[in-house]
Subunit: 332 residues, 5 copies
């Protein structure tokens, strides 16, 4: 589905999305516009080539899934418009997948130049819906701020959505640590391992993403104004914090593993203590009862009550002595 | 609560904190002043915008909690005063949280230019109280030294507070190592893990903090004079030492974990030795007593005292032989 | 076997591979051509020296096996043609070895200059077959695009072959992780170790390969045109993704090892629990039966049925009590 | 205690240490001198300020203990002498602490300029004694070589003292490794851990020390002549070797830990083997003796000698069979 | 022993090694020569100072053992010959030590300038023997190629000797891995640890060596011609491959350790399984035999054959049931 916000050089605004209007906006050197392409059909992808004439490699990247975050500069070929454009890939968290405890990200492709912003996304994105809502209520203001500020508001919103997810991840790791301490089953380790993979995936996205935003703030993209860069620096700050959190989480994952391994060992120790206590008490008694169970005629005391009671006392003495010993070693 | 120390160009000093006085100080190109905003109300936050006209992003950062240490340069917009200002975030240790064995840091936000220093902190800070005390006793001297020396005295004090905390952390780790060796319960591991997290948090603060101070010493901030930089280099030295201590502590944490794991293993070995010693002595005796406990008529020696005493001697021999063997293997 | 696609300056094309034709093409300053040398005999290697006069070290590297991916610049010595050439080594996955679960790579040596591309490979390569097929169907077009685009189409194809292999490796690791959890034999660890070595080998190839392609995109090779670099950037992107996947796989290998170790420990715990449960139930009963098996005359209750049944009840009580205890500790 | 070697511009030499003489030497633009301050009293510290007027921060660092090795450049303020001076902190090993198996370092503070060298140390230092001895025997030569060569001879000597210590550390680690293999008590691990901490401490000193010397060799200190730098490069070489040794030792420590852990596991295996061998032999015999110890009338063979001897043969057969099995599994 | 190959400016060649001849060669601005000093006596070391006047620090390094690979530039002092010389230290593998499974390296010291090469080695070196053999057969050619090509042929040969050693190391590690899997004794771990140390030592040599060769190829040494650098790049390539192999070996060592640890654990599991199987089968039978061994009059069935056979069936049932259970759990 295509959505557009166009402001022509003569002040007219339009939300038409047919090729003719878009081409007109592109030709008008004073027009600024935002075109959003959501869950595009093959036909709608055609706009990128037919109207804008973007580089085939960039269009290929748009269509193919799961690009790494990146920013690439292109020049319009054979075009009166001398200035080039940038192709950006940015990812936001995919909250749908999040519920299934296997966090993935959603890809947002963007073509951005001084006069236009084209956003393409295969899944619906809350970020875009939000910014579009504001643009719809006041299209003039949205476009008058400049394309760079429009870009900022999208990036800002998109990065904001990482925060609750990171918080949730932190909580999940704390919980896993507790479980590892209390109930160390292989299943817990598998879940720790899965969480680690989720973290690694997230880091693989956020790392290059940070680099992309950093490039924007460093002024490598000419049409991003000095005053907008201050705002982008703020977005970068958020991503930096996100990366730091991920680093911390990585250590938490490692910590959870250690605690898991340790509680397995502790549990083994507990089991062995139980076995040892029982064995060490029972074995001498078995020897004594065996001794007096032998069929020798000559075993002393078999026929006197004293002998019996002495044997009983010795057995009790062993039990008490052993318990005392174990208590001393803090085994019980 | 606002506190101010103003010295106007004509030599007058003032500690008024109303907007009019502050605006007058700001306009007077020869005035220097320090404004401290402690545990501010929403109204008091307003001063930042109304009087100083700081950048909205910077003000937002001031209000939001837990920023990473950073330094950002801004320009006054639409102001006769051409020179820009810097927004800094620095953290000091929060001694309150320290008592609960979960060290956090306190944030100190600063706006600093050639002529003024604005400090904002949501919690009371000993550092500020200390410097303010000295300033109160002699406001002239405090401001005559220049804003950069005032900044230095705050940073110096703030960094000083890290020292006792690091010392305490070192002691706590030594203690944990001892406990891990003596009494390896999962609880000890959990505490080791918590200490590690505390260290990681501290490092996440001190690392960028060092970078901020390094920027000050490198002369990237124009109004910090050459002679002040020598003093800031000293502050940087303190932070470098702190970072080194944290590195060392990290290794101590790892060492404590190793000792913990090893003492669990040793304890298991101890338990198993006990079990084995008892079993290995008792089992042959059980076999012998069982042997003579069989109801065969044909067992030799059952009816002679010699047979019995021979059996007893054999059993004693086994006990002594086994004890000798264990002694040889250094098990007992 | 030699295959050539030559387009002379006067528009003639040729697929002759004799030295005379090649030398003529080399002399003609407007000719462009591609010479492929597949599974070369010693004689065919001679072309490199006799016709092209490539540097002896480069030719030595071509003949010797298993070079690291690299790109080296050489100058033609004593030649009217002033411009130099580049010697490149690139590896593609060797799908044959892949079936034996021991992935190796195939080496593709290339000499490339503005006017010619010489490819040499000791094994048949699908990549070359594919590009050659297209060239055969339309030799004009293949050469008119320029040598740099020809180079790109080979590199692009070659890099594409890594994708399914990485996917397969990922699946293999997932499977190993499952096996480590279910059936932790030393054999599984050996296979994890082998997979790790495979990954390391692959990384040792792809790492420098990425560097080689990056050099091409950075414009360090003069005859690669600006518009071709955009395409090579795309190849580089693929390699970057491959490296990232390898990084992830490395963590998966580590995770599989952890799970393996943990399931060995768990299995030990399971064994010890079984032993302990049986021992702890049987030992007290052995003591009791031993007690009443002693040959003392004075043991009370031996001659009354009540005594017997009391003994039986006590034994049953012990069994039930122990089972209850184990249940409580979640051992059974 | 102050010691001085002064050579005035007119060729006179002096070893006076009163303030007047030192001030005269400082004023004389052709005088060169070395002042050593050993185990200084508070008064003697005063010289640094009163006579030389060194920067208060540098003096503070001198007085405070345990600075990191560093080199800082200062300018004389308000002094006819235009040229600045450098403040260096260097550490030598403290051989006293070494005996207690807890290696620490001794701090040597130095102020160095083109014309003078001031060395300050709180503990007696062999290095200084050695160089001073040579200077005492021929003060002219010591000072005529230039301050930079004097500095070199001190640094060279100081670095030399690290060599035997590193050798000793290597030996100690080898010994620990042997102990870990033979007698793995927690005490060994604690000592390994202590050795590791010693290494870390040493590295924290030598690392920055190397950086300081490197700065001297790179010509960042103006009055160090080209020909002296060659000699300092030699000192740097020694430190590089020391750092490499420390790296190696770090791996040795890790190796010792691994061997320790492994020999604990092996010892557990040994214990369990013993237990298992005895149990597995004794248990079937216990069952057999128990079987014939039952009071059933109907047990066959109880009343015939054949039955008894068959039972004995079976028991012997079990013992021999088991021993054979254990031998096969290489358990005994 | 001294060996020389001199070619004077007038075309004469000489192999004299007396000081006069060497000094003459040194003075003749068109002479080129190679002087090899093998297993030198103290007197022979004297040549370095007496004839060449090399820097005392360099000579000291030559005499002292075990320098790190390095290259240092020196200038001839007080010499009509304006051009300086370089002092290089390079190591080749010492194949003698290799047989004792404790690989060390042999040091080759070199002084090299535009006109001469002086090689000094305390042990006989195959590399030198080889190059010398070729030089002896045709001294003109050896020297006419230039000193840089002579240097290359020595370095090339020396680096070649690493290849078989690395191959052997790889095989040794594979073997250790197998042993760790089959027979995990502490001795195997000690050997793994020794191999690791060998690797670390080798890497400490090859790492800086690579840096030295890289410096030669980068043109930092003026008299190494452009065309020679291509050849040195080839030597560098070999060293790069060696470093990569060492990296891989490091992972193999780690892998061998993991497998070792795992097979200890597996062996423990095996032992415990044996113990548990026997115990769990024997214990219930002991209880039953004990039960019917009690001296109660009232035990039912003691006097009837049926009772006996029921008891026997129960015992057999337990054995079969347990075996079935163990089979199900895949323990047997």
């Amino acid at each position: 589905m295509l959505t557009s916000f166009i402001k022509f050089g003569d002040g007219r605004t339009s939300t038409e999305t047919d090729n003719a209007t878009l081409a007109a906006a592109l030709r008008d050197p004073k027009a600024v516009f935002w075109l959003d392409i959501s869950q595009p059909t093959d036909e709608e992808y055609g706009v990128l080539d037919d109207v804008f004439g973007f580089h085939p490699l960039a269009i290929e990247d748009v269509i193919r899934d799961m690009q790494r975050p990146k920013i690439e500069s292109y020049n319009h070929v054979g075009d009166s418009c001398q200035q080039g454009y940038f192709y950006m890939v940015i990812h936001g968290p995919d909250l749908e997948t999040f519920k299934d405890h296997e966090l993935r990200t959603k890809e947002l492709d963007m073509f951005v130049s001084e006069r236009y912003l084209v956003t393409i996304h295969e899944k619906q994105m809350k970020t875009i819906d939000h910014v579009m809502g504001r643009a719809r209520s006041d299209p003039h203001r949205a476009l008058d701020q400049g394309i760079d500020m429009l870009l900022h508001s999208i990036l800002d919103k998109l990065v904001d959505y990482y925060e609750p997810i990171l918080e949730y991840l932190g909580d999940a790791l704390d919980e896993l640590e507790d479980q590892a301490a209390e109930c160390p089953t292989t299943d817990v380790l598998t879940r720790i391992s899965a969480k680690k993979r989720e973290l690694l995936n997230l880091r693989r996205i956020i790392g290059p993403q940070r680099e992309v935003i950093a490039q924007l703030t460093r002024g490598e993209v000419p049409f991003i104004r000095q005053e907008t860069r201050v705002y982008l620096r703020d977005v970068l700050d958020h991503l930096n914090r996100a990366v730091e959190s991920l680093e911390l989480f990585r250590d938490l994952v490692q910590g959870a593993r250690d605690i898991y391994m340790s509680s397995i060992s502790n549990s083994l120790n507990q089991i062995m203590k139980t076995l040892t206590i029982f064995s060490v008490i029972a074995l001498p008694m078995t020897v004594i009862t065996g001794f007096f169970g032998m069929n020798f005629d000559a075993i002393p005391g078999l026929h006197s009550p004293t002998g019996f009671w002495i044997a009983v006392m010795v057995m009790l003495g062993i039990v008490i002595g052993m318990l005392f010993l174990f208590r001393q070693r803090k085994w019980i």
